[in-house]
């Protein structure tokens, strides 16, 4: 029995030397991270994950005259579209949160890259990738919110309640960042196949042109877009739809896109924009406002053209209309979508069906596999050559400089795309060209990044975002009260003194009172 006592006493001794130091086994800790180039590359890759966010991208279109969302999910965008939004409307916080996360991921690399020994070239390249992504995030943030906190490194606790920096100062920062990266050639013109998707020299220039255009720094915009054009790295693709349906991911036209892969790295794009026939939820659907922007095939607007038939409004129109929007009776991936068939699941009033009567075709991948899951794998295009061309044209027109042939060439290159083939623009009248360029941007980029910023900087939002939003012409269902007229989707209102900027989100103000006062009217 003595042995048992010894055993028990011994166990006391064993207990005093027990393990309490445990490390995570599926992630690295900062004491060991930032030691190798591999660490840098992985952290850089992490920042790229923020490029795509399909709960925001495409949905943003519903805050413009292009699209409507029937659902207040996932982000309340409906209220941002019809003017009933408040500071607590979800899309404001989601957007704010998303881009600041992207900025933090970039800042983390920039804060720590000096701890790692690697070649000057690689250090410059990785840093430049992060600086460009960070600049992109700030372009978006200033476009949505105006003055925002300018954060250039991971904040210390004392810095948490960062005040707002003036939008113009942030634009200067964006421009100087992109300028420095491109001037010093920190980024390659292209990457090896396995690295495709990273920020290139051209992408940085393209974003520089965009930032300068948004900031009305015409000369910078002209200079940057000219560099892209003269580099001859990029071209207008012969197949418009292929840029968005997953079949032409490495097109010469695409300059920056959020990358996806079938099966393993996917997004729910088709679920959001597809109709019931495509097992989608019809959450983002086109409005009459977008359809009306397409010219007729003669290059004239629907108000001016004789080809326009008010009873058959989609006939004789810019081919991009049918490429962007599913017209009744046409098919997508072999499935007929005909909302005028009153038994169709896509018909007006059916569950998850479009409230406007139209669906988007653009961004539907060619072989989506059913289910509400995220099974789309098409890349989300963030910047393409067509934009750089139109940026160049717009910047020249707005700068007051002489309108030479290069401006018309730039516009006509976009209009003359194979499969689009719209008549060439010949006028050199500044005002006429301004209208043409604006219309061209409108019909070329639906569902892409640009429209909301365009209607804001052109100050046309008060016109296009006010009044009733309509959908399809109802010439097929006489049981409806609107037979013979356009289907009403919703009433919208736009408060000129308020709605040109989104508010700093309510929850953020609750955490950082230094952000007050909020934007005018909010």
């Amino acid at each position: 029995m003595k042995k048992i006592v010894y055993f028990l006493l011994l166990s006391f001794l064993i207990l005093t030397s027990c393990e309490l130091d445990f490390q995570p086994k599926d992630s690295l800790v900062d004491t060991t991270y930032w030691t190798s180039e591999e660490d840098v590359k992985k952290a850089v890759n992490y920042a790229y994950r923020r490029l795509g966010n399909t709960d925001l991208q495409a949905f943003i279109s519903c805050a413009t005259d292009d699209s409507y969302s029937w659902s207040n999910w996932p982000s309340d965008i409906q209220y941002a579209g019809n003017g009933s939004a408040t500071t607590s409307t979800g899309v404001f916080l989601n957007t704010w949160d998303h881009y600041y996360k992207m900025i933090a991921s970039c800042n983390d690399v920039l804060d720590n890259i000096d701890k790692v020994t690697l070649s000057e070239d690689m250090k410059n390249r990785y840093s430049a990738e992060m600086r460009v992504l960070r600049a992109y995030a700030y372009i978006q943030l200033t476009g949505f919110f105006g003055d925002v906190p300018l954060i250039k490194h991971i904040q210390t606790i004392e810095e948490f309640k960062a005040p707002r920096t003036e939008k113009s100062e942030i634009i200067d920062f964006i421009i100087s960042e992109l300028d420095e990266v491109t001037k010093n050639n920190h980024l390659p013109a292209e990457y090896s196949d396995g690295e495709y998707g990273r920020v290139t020299h051209g992408a940085a220039l393209g974003l520089l042109a965009r930032a300068a255009l948004y900031g009305e720094k015409w000369d910078t915009a002209i200079e940057a877009s000219k560099k892209v054009i003269s580099s001859e790295e990029y071209d207008i693709d012969a197949d418009y739809l292929s840029l968005f349906n997953g079949t032409n991911k490495k097109s010469n036209e695409i300059m920056l896109a959020a990358q996806y892969i079938k099966g393993t790295y996917t997004n729910p794009m088709a679920t959001w924009i597809g109709g019931p026939s495509l097992t989608g939820w019809g959450q983002v659907v086109p409005l009459k406002g977008l359809l009306d922007a397409y010219e007729c095939t003669d290059g004239k607007t629907i108000e001016q053209s004789n080809l326009y038939d008010p009873q058959n409004p989609t006939a004789n129109r810019d081919p991009r209309l049918a490429l962007t929007i599913v017209l009744p009776g046409s098919s997508v991936n072999g499935i007929t979508i005909d909302i005028t068939n009153l038994n169709s699941p896509d018909r007006l009033g059916a569950s998850n069906a479009s409230f406007s009567g139209y669906y988007y075709r653009k961004y539907i991948p060619t072989d989506i596999e059913g289910s509400w899951d995220s099974n789309s794998y098409n890349d989300i295009v963030l910047l393409r050559y067509a934009e750089v061309l139109l940026t160049y044209a717009e910047a020249v027109v707005e700068s007051g400089g002489s309108i030479d042939n290069s401006v018309l060439e730039a516009i006509n290159k976009v209009r003359g795309r194979n499969g689009v083939g719209m008549p060439a623009v010949t006028t050199t009248d500044r005002a006429a060209l301004r209208e043409i360029i604006r219309r061209e941007r409108h019909v070329e980029f639906p569902l892409e990044d640009n429209r909301i910023f365009d209607i804001r900087r052109w100050k046309i939002a008060e016109k296009v975002m006010n009044g009733t939003a309509y959908g399809i012409l109802n010439n097929f269902d006489n049981s409806r009260a609107d037979y013979g007229r356009y289907v009403k989707v919703e009433d919208r209102s736009f408060n000129v003194s308020r709605d040109y900027l989104w508010p700093i989100p309510l929850n953020e103000i609750g955490l950082n009172e230094n952000l007050l006062p909020n934007n005018p009217g909010w």
Partner: protein
């Protein structure tokens, strides 16, 4: 597969029953009788043994009755009971011996389990509620946690779902002390575990340690209270076999009711302000013989609630006994609960063997083994099933007249998914081993070593099937397929090792009693998770290998935790009148960095049994009065992340692994997600408690009262940080919270005449919760449903905030007089009070109430007359707020359902409506006083009527006792809320509803 399993388990039970039936007992003379105390109360559990033959014995039942067979006619029976004077009565051929036992003033009352030991209840100086087996099994419930509800003051259980296997409820002891994990520590025979791993039938007693004095021996883990569960052990010379069962049926309660199709269309047209549905379509519904395929009028949520049988059953079988060297208790319990929704089932089998071996005079060994096998199943996408149908409007068709399935909400059909969309099964096989050796070194001095292991193997199989639907009705031949034939298998292995060494020393010197305890313990936990996924699984196949290889993905992770502790306790009492106790514990947790790891948690308590003083000895009505006071500190090291799950490495700056594609193939990515904070340390709760225990009116009335103040500081909390930081909030030692409250328990028992016994129990408690300090980070935040909650100094944790509603805009003057919330506000919308200039914001929000319940109470009524017994249990909350916006708001589009209240919404024709204007905006569905309502309720939780077969009848069957009973649960509810909101679990149709249960059961003892 499930069916086969349950068959196996039932088979096991029938073998058990068969074994019992062949256990024949030879008969000689049979003695029976009733044992009562001086107050004519039955003495329950008194031991009766034949002198000189201790293997022949029994104990009295709940009514004080006993039956002892095979007794030699000339034997002497020895009657004994704790706290009573032992008596020996010669049989002399009598077959009935009734006995009145007298209380022994020297030995008092019950023994209560305390940390690392037991104490006599009268000597306790801490606040402890103890429950015995009878109390626990009187309310048939599959989950032990649910039976705690309303049974002990200061203990609240809230259940958010009635789903079989998930209906375990949340236990809170004395309010919400912290902003992170508030779960109490549960120890099963000294080993950390989950309260629902034990079947109620296996529990001898449960102690709930509420104040610092009682629980601080558990140091860093005890701030939320401690629940000690003791399982049944064999008793010397008492062979006992018992069997009990019950069968029950459940009905859903509080399921949302909606308006039919015609009203839906009318209200939808009002919502949009335009005719979405034409008059012709609405009129078509006037015809009862209309084509239901074209003009459907459905209530799919109701249809779902009828798909399951709601049947439940429980069987328990136990054997126990032993001699002075070896004792055993073996039990098996089977519980099965089928949902009110098809394929939502739960089964659990628990088997336990507790053994006590006296190896030598000085060395005793306990070896306890238990297994708990459970299987919870649910259909595919169960998390979304109920919600999906709750918003499916009445024009949605589940099945057309030709039997074909309809597509609901444009994507699949939840009713069909529930039936054939897949099988999700969550299995957990838990094995525990608890080995304890106690060596007596000298009189009063023992050394104890304990090793406990706990292994939980969790295997989940999540299989979904693609479902094909006709695209339209009548079908044009085109079909649409939703989903994939996909399968996820998850394997999680949890291991816990627990090592303890204890030294106990007890000594009495004259009038001085001392007890010393010293101990050391190490706890280690580890979990390993592995997951695999493939799709393309052919129908009927259930394994990963059946899927296509190019679809495979996998994942896995692990965590570890360690806790090292040293502790000691000193008890002193003088003449059994003056009691004193001191505890100290030092803990080191692996959750904190080396320098912040260790914490010391002391406590002191004292008691004065004032009724033992000579000046009170002669006060006749006062049988016992004890005053208690305690002070102590407790700790908490549990950290949770923003999504509410426990974290294990909170102080470490982690780069988590992800991936991102370049050039069409994935590259690995690693990133910082959470803001680093390496300065974490444990949070501390300081608790002061004063109270008294009294027994008055000749022992008929017990009163227990406690008042306490509980201050928690350095609360471990993911306090939100500005979003512009770009990283998730880290856990910080961020806040101070104060809970103060009181608890009162009254228990009165008496009898009328000789056959009618009754008792009334009442408990009431209040806790006032208040945030004391947040380091200047007071904040309100709004969630997706526009519900605003605040962390504001001076107010309860996460209390409701919102706009104060002044009424509705009724005139044009109103529209100009009051600021509008948003652009679309017009007549019929709610007017929110404006407090400061500018747009509506947090400055305009006011405190609207708290969802932390106050004045929670329970009432226990019991009565018996001869062989009939009756009991009722009521439970209620006196003051609590709920935010009903999600439950009561009207849909803003056609994807939703209207309720009765929406018929009375504002229109020009109905200007005095109770509900605001219907519209597609959400201006009326903000956080406001309109939606925050009183959730006070009183609920008849349980009613039971029992009948015990007369001895004269059962004795012929060699049965000692046989009782039948019927029980109803949740039968009646009194509340001001609409009857389709369950006050106990108000939810927006996210969860499986609460259930009413009707059960029938039998208890047999051999």
């Amino acid at each position: 597969m499930k069916k086969k399993n349950s068959f196996k388990w039932k088979g096991l039970l029938s073998i058990g029953i068969w074994m019992v039936s062949i256990a024949m007992f030879a008969q000689n003379i049979t003695v029976r009788g009733t044992v009562t105390d001086a107050n004519n109360e039955p003495v329950i559990g008194a031991s009766i043994v034949v002198e000189g033959n201790p293997s022949l014995g029994t104990i009295t039942d709940i009514d004080g009755r006993y039956l002892l067979s095979n007794v030699p006619a000339d034997a002497t029976l020895q009657f004994s009971y704790v706290g009573m004077i032992t008596q020996s009565i010669p049989v002399n051929g009598k077959t009935t011996i009734d006995l009145i036992m007298e209380s022994d003033d020297e030995v008092l009352d019950e023994v209560v389990v305390v940390g690392y030991g037991t104490q006599k209840k009268v000597n306790l100086t801490g606040a402890i509620s103890a429950l015995n087996n009878e109390e626990l099994i009187s309310k048939p419930s599959g989950q032990l946690s649910a039976t705690l509800q309303g049974m002990a003051p200061g203990v609240t259980i809230t259940t958010s779902t009635g789903q079989p296997g998930l209906n375990t409820g949340t236990i809170r002891i004395r309010g919400i002390g912290t902003l992170n994990n508030n779960e109490p520590l549960v120890l099963i025979d000294g080993l950390e575990g989950d309260i629902n791993d034990v079947d109620a039938n296996d529990v001898t007693s449960m102690s709930i340690l509420k104040d610092a004095a009682a629980s601080s021996i558990y140091g860093i883990r005890a701030a939320n209270g401690v629940i000690l569960i003791t399982t049944k052990r064999g008793e010397e010379n008492r062979t006992k076999i018992s069997y009990s069962n019950y069968f029950g049926w459940q009905d859903p309660s509080g399921v949302s009711k909606f308006l039919g199709a015609q009203n839906f269309m009318k209200l939808a047209n009002m919502t949009y302000g335009t005719a979405i549905y034409s008059d012709a379509q609405i009129k078509a519904y006037d015809d009862p013989n209309r084509n239901a395929d074209k003009y459907p009028d459905t209530y799919l949520l109701g249809d779902l609630m009828d798909t399951g049988s709601g049947f439940q059953q429980q069987h328990s079988l136990s054997f126990s006994g032993g001699n002075n060297r070896l004792k055993y208790a073996l039990s098996a319990n089977y519980f099965e609960q089928q949902g009110v929704i098809e394929n939502m089932d739960f089964q659990r089998l628990t088997v336990r063997l507790n053994t006590d071996a006296q190896i030598s005079d000085r060395f005793r060994l306990n070896a306890d083994l238990s297994a708990r096998l459970q299987d919870r199943s649910e259909p595919a996408t169960a998390w979304d099933l109920i919600n999906n149908l709750a918003v499916a409007n009445p024009l949605s068709i589940s099945q057309y007249s030709d039997g074909s399935w309809g597509i609901i909400r444009g994507s699949s059909n939840p009713l069909r998914i529930a039936k054939e969309g897949g099988d999700h099964s969550y299995k957990s096989d838990l094995f525990t081993g608890n080995f304890k050796g106690v060596y007596t070194l000298a009189e009063g001095l023992t050394v104890t070593g304990l090793v406990g292991v706990r292994m939980d193997y969790m295997n989940n199989s999540i299989q979904d099937y693609a479902l094909t639907y006709n695209k339209q009705f009548p079908s044009n031949g085109e079909t649409t397929t939703f989903g994939r034939n996909q399968l996820t298998k998850q394997s999680n292995k949890y291991y816990q090792g627990n090592y303890q060494g204890l030294v106990n020393y007890n000594k009495t010197f004259g009038s001085h009693d001392i007890a010393l305890l010293g101990g050391v313990s190490y706890l280690r936990e580890q979990q390993d998770d592995l997951e695999a996924y493939r799709y393309g699984i052919p129908a009927g196949l259930t394994e990963i290998d059946a899927g296509s290889e190019d679809s495979q993905t996998n994942g896995g992770t692990a965590w570890q935790y360690g806790l090292m502790s040293y502790f000691g306790r000193f008890n002193y009492s003088y003449e059994g009148k003056y009691l004193f106790e001191a505890n100290v514990r030092r803990d080191g947790s692996s959750r904190f960095a080396k320098d912040q790891r260790w914490g010391i948690f002391p406590s002191f308590s004292a008691g004065w049994r004032i009724s033992e003083e000579t000046f009170l000895k002669d006060v006749a009505f006062l049988n016992n009065l004890k005053l208690r006071a305690s002070w102590g500190q407790l700790g908490n090291d549990q950290t949770i992340n923003s999504s509410g799950s426990l974290t294990y490495y909170p102080y470490q700056t982690q780069y988590s692994a992800y991936s991102y594609p370049f050039g069409g193939s994935l590259q690995s990515a690693m990133g910082l997600r959470v803001y680093p904070n390496s300065n974490l340390t444990w949070e501390t709760t300081e608790m002061t408690d004063v109270g008294f225990d009294a027994t008055i009116l000749s022992g008929k009335l017990d009163v227990v009262f406690d008042y306490y103040v509980k201050n928690t500081k350095d609360i471990l909390l993911s306090l939100p940080i500005p979003y512009s930081v770009g990283l998730s909030a880290p856990v910080q030692n961020a806040a101070k919270v104060r809970n103060n409250g009181w608890e009162l328990a009254l228990n009165y028992r008496d009898k009328i005449g000789s056959d009618f016994n009754y008792s009334v129990g009442f408990n009431l408690s209040d806790v006032k919760n208040e945030v004391v300090d947040l380091k200047g980070t007071d904040q309100i935040s709004v969630n997706n449903n526009n519900i605003a909650t605040g962390l504001i100094v001076g107010k309860p944790i996460n209390s409701f905030y919102g706009y104060e509603v002044l009424g509705m805009y009724k005139t044009q003057e109103d529209l100009t007089a009051y600021q509008k919330f948003s652009n679309n506000v017009t007549l019929g919308d709610l007017i929110y009070k404006k407090n400061v200039e500018g747009a509506y914001g947090f400055d305009d929000m006011v405190y609207l109430g708290s969802n932390i319940p106050r004045y929670t109470y329970g009432i226990n009524l019991a009565a018996s007359y001869k062989n009939i017994d009756f009991s009722a249990f009521l439970q209620g909350v006196g003051k609590v707020n709920i935010n009903t916006v999600v439950m009561e708001r009207a849909p803003v589009n056609t994807d939703g359902n209207f309720k009765e209240i929406h018929l009375d919404s504002w229109t020009e024709a109905n200007p005095n409506a109770s509900f605001p204007r219907l519209s597609s905006g959400n201006q009326n569905y903000q956080s406001s006083s309109f939606w925050v309502k009183s959730g006070a309720y009183l609920r008849l939780k349980n009613v039971q009527l029992g009948y015990t077969l007369p001895d004269s009848f059962v004795n012929r069957l060699s049965i000692a006792k046989c009782r039948f009973y019927v029980t109803g649960s949740n039968l009646l509810t009194f509340t001001k809320l609409p009857n389709d909101i369950d006050p106990e679990a108000p939810n927006e149709n996210r969860y499986y509803p609460q259930v009413k249960t009707y059960t029938f059961g039998v208890n047999i003892e051999f």
